[in-house]
């Protein structure tokens, strides 16, 4: 199966690579030099005196603490998603009831609910529940808003399990519980890793819920730390960009290991 290469798109992809790569280079270069060097050399210059001062300074500004908060939120969101989505997807794929069809439609419509649209009542609900300025108050809505996409991804994967396998289990007289744990879960591993990566990404990068639902430094997450740093020390561009690099570092490490799962999962969003 030989196709001629698409030169036009090939050229475009190189231009695009440059557009992606250049800002990332400028960012890394900026973080490795002193503020005064950066402003006298200009953003495009190669750093002359390399220093990690910007990074250590960010840590003394509380970024380590914001890091831990974000990690906690992310782990909790992933745990909730892993607990709730597999049985949901199993029911969507295997249950024949009308209720389940309705539930699937609800989640499909839920895909399009923008978080901004519910942020005012969310503030109301979370305040009334006494969870304002508490990490739990970020975790719950963030997890809820990850459910639709994760349900879509995982049910897509579970649909690929062939009926023969269910029949074989039926011969043994297996209960739905056994079918779920011995057949469905083991065969959906790729989908499970996709939803883990996906919900972790959502939680790690979440901004609006933390912005509106927390206040004090003790419950600040890393995106909010970035935002505040920008408003307070906006002129310290190398320090600010070092904070940006720090915020993406853990995600980037996960990406190096889970690239395939993430990319495959996101590719499926387009639908067939």
């Amino acid at each position: 199966m030989k196709r001629r290469p698409n030169y036009l798109a090939g050229l475009g992809s190189l231009v695009w690579l440059f557009l992606i790569g250049l800002p990332l280079y400028v960012m890394l270069a900026a973080t490795l030099q002193d503020r005064s060097d950066y402003s006298s050399n200009g953003p495009l210059a190669f750093p002359k005196h390399v220093t990690l001062h910007n990074y250590t300074q960010d840590f003394s500004n509380g970024f380590g603490h914001f890091f831990l908060n974000t990690l906690l939120v992310t782990l909790a969101v992933v745990a909730i998603v892993l607990l709730l989505v597999p049985p949901l997807a199993y029911a969507i794929v295997r249950s024949r009831g009308r209720i389940t069809t309705g539930i699937f439609r609800l989640f499909l419509l839920g895909l399009a609910i923008p978080a901004q649209a519910v942020i005012v009542p969310m503030f109301y609900v979370i305040s009334k529940a006494g969870l304002y300025d508490n990490l739990i108050g970020i975790i719950l809505p963030t997890a809820a808003f990850s459910l639709p996409v994760c349900a879509l991804i995982l049910s897509g994967v579970m649909r690929e399990i062939t009926p023969d396998l269910y029949e074989a289990m039926a011969m043994d007289g297996a209960s739905p519980w056994r079918v779920f744990f011995q057949l469905v879960v083991p065969l959906s591993k790729s989908g499970l890793s996709t939803i883990v990566v996906f919900s972790a990404l959502q939680a790690w990068n979440g901004f609006l819920f933390p912005l509106v639902l927390t206040q004090s430094d003790s419950s600040k997450v890393i995106t909010l730390g970035l935002f505040n740093f920008q408003t307070e020390h906006g002129i310290d561009i190398p320090g600010l960009l070092a904070a940006v690099v720090l915020s993406m570092l853990p995600i980037f490490i996960v990406y190096l290991f889970a690239r395939r799962a993430l990319v495959q999962g996101l590719m499926g969003v387009g639908g067939k």
């Binding site: 196709r3 992606i20 794929v93 649209a117 005012v120 009542p121 039926a170 940006v244 993406m248």
Partner: protein
């Protein structure tokens, strides 16, 4: 399907006869997730409608205010302007990102040798938060220390955030920078699924690469284009972080789009009723679009072809 219908029917009967029906999960399996989702996504959606008819400063209890917020909204020229700006930024985003991501996606679906290495760098914006992306570009485009100060021949006075046209241009550009990789990925997946037979047939008929692209690839990507564009529209209408960090709605109210205006009204002016009314307008628009996508793309009929028994 590889198995033909008849043996499957026969086997099904034999299972029925032997009494070993496959155990199926009831809706109870979906109940925990559904309850959780109802509580934290659907209930707030209902509450936003209720709150839009109240007067609430965020501290006491909301007071019923009838249609006051809605009346104020109709006469609020910033609100009307913000809707136009939202639509403008959304349309520009779709116009810029769609051709780019189709071309890149189709290219990436091919069998280039260095693709794995290229795409590793290529998809980095997917990993970054909108916050990080906005801060990165705010720093890079800083009038005093950023790239424009180095290339005045290209950027004029260098203050891209000081004029409406260039500020909107920055918002569209940064949006494209962050989201084109995502849409490229969608198109890449779809382009791989195009049957190779079609290209082979075209090759025999002597159709060149460009004709193949327009007569085979594009028509085959139709459904994906619909899905992708609707995601772009919903995403564009709800752009928020980018505006908050890059322009703060300025200069003046020149880039105050609806989502940002809603945030300002509720959380800066403590007019939560008015904010809710704007939020409800956003919900209505997003719901209409999502209903369209569910209908047009046939997502709701997405039952497996291998679903049986």
């Amino acid at each position: 399907m590889t198995t033909s219908a008849e043996p499957r029917v026969a086997r099904r009967r034999s299972i029925r006869r032997s009494g070993a029906a496959v155990a199926r999960p009831g809706f109870a399996w979906a109940a925990p997730a559904t309850l959780f989702f109802l509580l934290f996504a659907v209930l707030p959606l209902v509450l936003v409608a209720v709150l839009s008819f109240t007067d609430w400063d965020g501290l006491g209890s909301p007071q019923y205010a009838g249609l006051d917020n809605w009346k104020a909204l109709i006469h609020d020229h910033v609100m009307i302007q913000s809707l136009w700006l939202s639509v403008l930024i959304t349309v520009l985003g779709v116009v810029v990102q769609t051709p780019l991501s189709i071309l890149l996606g189709v290219w990436a679906a091919g069998k280039q040798r260095n693709r794995a290495i290229l795409s590793a760098i290529y998809f980095v914006p997917l990993l970054l938060s909108a916050t990080a992306v906005s801060i990165l570009w705010r720093a890079l485009l800083d009038p005093n220390f950023g790239v424009p100060s180095q290339a005045k021949w290209l950027f004029g006075d260098g203050n891209l955030f000081g004029h409406q046209t260039s500020a909107i241009g920055v918002l569209v550009f940064v949006g494209a920078w962050q989201y084109t990789p995502f849409h490229t990925l969608i198109y890449q997946g779809a382009a791989r699924a195009v049957p190779q037979v079609l290209y082979q047939a075209a090759e025999i008929d002597g159709a060149g690469t460009i004709r193949q692209f327009f007569h085979i690839t594009l028509p085959q990507l139709r459904n994906t284009m619909i899905t992708s564009m609707i995601l772009m529209v919903v995403g564009g209408l709800t752009t928020f972080d980018t505006v908050l960090i890059l322009t703060q709605g300025g200069p003046g109210t020149d880039t105050t789009i609806s989502a940002y205006y809603m945030y300002q009204k509720a959380f800066k002016s403590f007019d939560f009723g008015g904010g809710s009314a704007i939020a409800l307008v956003l919900v209505l628009i997003a719901t209409v679009i999502s209903l369209v996508v569910v209908k047009v793309s046939g997502y709701d009929k997405m039952r497996s072809s291998s679903e049986g028994l």
